[in-house]
Symmetry: C2
């Protein structure tokens, strides 16, 4: 996870010519804090991979263990495990252990919503 953070140079409104000052200040007022934006960028980064999207979509309707997921997305166990780690780190999925199996599910409803709206956009 290494989204480049936003470098707020002190030269802010200087090295470029501002045309619409009001709009610029309005936009600056509406900006979320840097930390949230960076974290959100990392979240989108983890979603920005077809295999991980397949995993998320598979988990949208049910709980699955790692080797079932590997079968669904047709990748190696290792690759899926690496993907799951990233998804875990961004709290996109969580899991419970049962014996030696790990059952994964989506972390919350935001995730399914993101993918649904994203697909709406894509298919419009």
């Amino acid at each position: 996870m290494a989204s480049q953070t936003i470098s707020r140079r002190s030269s802010a409104l200087c090295d470029v010519h501002v045309v619409h000052e009001d709009a610029v200040h309005g936009a600056l007022r509406d900006q979320p804090d840097t930390e949230s934006l960076t974290y959100l960028a990392d979240t989108f980064q983890v979603l920005a991979n077809p295999t991980r999207l397949q995993i998320v979509q598979a988990l949208a309707g049910r709980e699955l263990c790692v080797c079932d997921l590997a079968a669904v997305v047709d990748s190696s166990q290792s690759a899926v495990s690496h993907h799951l780690r990233q998804l875990r780190q961004m709290r996109i999925v969580r899991y419970r252990k049962e014996g030696r199996m790990a059952y994964y599910r989506l972390d919350d409803e935001h995730i399914a919503a993101l993918v649904r709206i994203g697909l709406d956009h894509v298919c419009e």
Copy 2:
């Protein structure tokens, strides 16, 4: 734009041991087509950058020209222009020309929704 496409090896349910066959087939049935997933991954990829998220957030409430955007996100005109191209290519923003200015806005409401839900997830 170059998300790796999903390689559907013919060995699908073979090289890994399937534990819960029903769940696996249910998940396979729910998968969107490869093309949509790849396109969606590319869309998230473009959103997976703090500076581009700043741009999107700035455009959520108003129309802005390129040099105003450069001031808001505190980057060079060139960097912003490159970012805008990617955002355009994924239909995240669109623009109108007025003289030598280009005024950018979000392409549709899905985009603002994605960022809003994403921030909800991040801040939960």
